[in-house]
């Protein structure tokens, strides 16, 4: 009996350990951004769909430093995982949105958001994603996801988001 309990315990531990996937490397997307259904019990997530994309990749968002459009290591890793999915479904068009935080003037931020979107796009293209299927759009500072006026909020708002268009 004790042996069984032990083995059960060990088995459970192994089992849960196995099932416990590596913890997500990024903060889970805020509500409203993705429609990942954690249960994944619904069989209707079609492969190649946006929902499929967003549950498959590390994140659909990469972040930037203040006033910058260069990709750091983490951003590149995220884009790598996006590129993997995108090359698997080569016919799916995507849009790359570039965003800024509120600490820039409106027009300059439109230009900076465009740069961020393009930086991500170019990286994806270098990873084998056909650039023709990637459209870019800049929202400047007009569409923040974090509403506070503090460093944490601003850091979240400086982003490029990959949106699967279907």
């Amino acid at each position: 009996m004790a042996k069984l309990t032990t083995s059960l315990l060990i088995g459970t531990a192994l089992f849960t350990a196995a099932c416990a996937k590596k913890p997500p490397a990024v903060i889970p997307p805020p509500p409203g951004q993705s429609v990942v259904d954690p249960n994944a019990g619904q069989p209707s997530i079609a492969p190649g769909s946006r929902a499929d994309f967003e549950r498959s990749v590390t994140s659909n968002t990469v972040n930037f430093a203040l006033d910058s459009f260069s990709l750091d290591d983490r951003a590149r890793a995220i884009l790598d995982s996006q590129a993997q999915w995108l090359t698997r479904y080569p016919n799916v068009p995507v849009s790359l949105e570039g965003h800024c935080d509120e600490r820039g003037t409106r027009e300059y931020n439109l230009a900076l958001g465009d740069r961020r979107a393009l930086a991500a796009k170019n990286y994806l293209a270098a990873r084998g994603v056909a650039p023709g299927r990637i459209s870019t759009i800049s929202y400047g500072k007009e569409r923040p996801i974090a509403l506070g006026s503090d460093e944490a909020s601003w850091a979240q708002n400086r982003r490029a988001v990959t949106i699967v268009l279907n």
Partner: protein, 476 residues
């Protein structure tokens, strides 16, 4: 205070005033868009020939220094009407009340006048040209604005406007306007402009409109609509329905079009919106991001910013469309160009030096020179209609509105909000309108204005919230 006019004007004014009072009190109506007529001769009596140094005349000389920055006390009683008549704009007696209110609000909001709060008695029709100076002087007014409104038989309205100097008991200026009922408010603004210009020396600016981005909704999903209104908030109209973000609007110099950027169909681009018809056309038909449009003073070009391959530069294109001409080509972000009032030069912002700074170039893109060298970053430059100043947003910890001379230098900050940006000049170059954002999750943006001297920072009331104001020219 400007309450004493020099005697030449006083005598001439009194003479005409007296003559007028003896006849029926009907001034000379001057229909739009004729130039104003002041009914008084040139103010200065002939001076010494040759303008010799007074000291040489061997006369006693007394030096006096004095003056104050304070608003001038002015009385604006309700404008009476000879007959109460119903018009499409309303009853003439009520219009008379509202006209006085328009003049009062305009003058007060300029920060240079202090309309009387109390003691503004009703004025009957005959008194309009025969003011009771003793009363108004006793009430604390240095200047007096009286007028009247009359419905003409053909549906138009006549509005008369008189400016008096209370202390010297003289008429300083008079104008009359014949307007269709739909434009009755403009008569009030024209009257206020006459008073303002006469007493301050500044050019007029009250009869003008502002296009801006009306904002409403939560910070993460804000609805931004193109809107237009009179500079005092009247006649407000939404021009887009909010389904697509609208940004960076500008009025064309002929005031018939608005150029702006719209996200319609998820493709942010510049559109030319015809105010009368409500129709708009795409200005530059390609897939590049185009934004920040400005029409040149002669109406022939639209200056704008376009992002090609991730690099934003300044271009210009003929107003009616065509091939864009590139004016800047640095790998930096070059944007936000605006023309000088004579159209010969352009001031813009660029981060080619590493941070956002201001540059001036010729209208063809040649001779680009940096003009900002202070600490911090500079953005959103706009050239004053007087040509002698450039206003901008100064970024350094906070966002503040500032001015500098077009050669750079003489920098002065006018506001001290946390996030003030996007200044726009009034037509006479005396007032700046900008938008001020509050922070935090419930942060909102509103239109504000400030006088060139830094005084009179006040909120411009709008129907909803607002940003990106663009002050149009004086209406003819």
């Amino acid at each position: 205070m400007f309450h004493k006019m020099i005697f030449a004007l006083a005598l001439a004014g009194v003479a005409t005033g007296v003559a007028e009072a003896q006849t029926a009190p009907a001034p000379l109506p001057v229909p739009f868009p004729n130039a104003p007529q002041t009914g008084a001769p040139a103010p200065q009596a002939p001076g010494q020939p040759g303008g010799a140094n007074p000291q040489q005349q061997g006369e006693l000389v007394v030096d006096v220094v004095g003056g104050v920055s304070a608003p001038l006390g002015i009385a604006i009683p309700v404008m009476p009407t000879s007959d109460v008549v119903n018009t499409p704009a309303g009853r003439t007696d009520q219009l008379g009340q509202q006209l006085a209110q328009i003049v009062t609000t305009d003058l007060r909001n300029s920060g240079l006048f202090k309309p009387l709060d109390s003691g503004v008695k009703p004025v009957l029709f005959p008194e309009v040209t025969a003011p009771t100076f003793d009363y108004w002087g006793g009430a604390g007014a240095s200047a007096l604005v009286q007028g009247f409104i009359r419905a003409n038989g053909d549906g138009t309205l006549t509005v008369g406007c008189y400016l008096y100097d209370v202390t010297s008991r003289a008429e300083l200026a008079r104008q009359g306007f014949v307007v269709p009922p739909s434009e009755w408010r403009r008569a009030g603004h024209k009257c206020a402009d006459m008073v303002y210009s006469k007493l301050t020396g500044e050019g007029p600016y009250f009869d003008s409109r502002v296009v801006y981005v009306s904002e409403t909704g939560p910070k993460g999903k804000r609805i931004k609509r193109l809107a237009i209104m009179d500079q005092d908030g009247g006649n407000h109209r939404f021009l887009t329905n909010g389904q697509a973000i609208a940004l960076t609007p500008r009025l064309s110099p002929d005031q018939r079009s608005i150029v702006y950027m719209s996200y319609v169909e998820d493709r942010p681009a510049i559109y030319v919106y015809d105010i009368e018809s409500g129709r708009q056309r795409l200005l530059v038909p390609n897939t590049n991001l185009t934004f920040a449009p400005r029409v040149s003073p002669d109406g022939k070009w639209v200056l704008f910013s376009m992002a090609v391959g991730g690099n934003t530069d300044i271009y210009r294109v003929p107003f009616n469309g065509g091939t864009p001409q590139r004016l800047t080509d640095s790998p930096a972000i070059d944007t936000g160009g605006t023309y000088s009032p004579d159209g010969s030069r352009i001031v813009f912002e660029s981060d080619r030096s590493g941070t956002q700074q201001l540059y001036v170039m010729n209208a063809d893109g040649s001779q680009q020179q940096r003009i900002s060298f202070g600490s911090g970053r500079y953005a959103t430059p706009v050239w004053s209609p007087r040509g002698n100043l450039i206003a901008f947003t100064k970024i350094g910890g906070s966002f503040r509105i500032g001015i500098m001379s077009p050669a750079g230098g003489n920098e002065q900050l006018l506001t001290d909000g946390a996030q003030d940006e996007g200044p726009s000049w009034s037509p006479n170059g005396r007032v700046l309108m900008f938008f001020r954002s509050s922070g935090g999750g419930n942060g909102r943006a509103d239109l504000w204005s400030v006088d060139l001297t830094g005084v009179n920072v006040r909120r411009v009331p709008t129907v909803l919230d607002g940003s990106d104001p663009a002050w149009g020219p004086l209406r003819p």
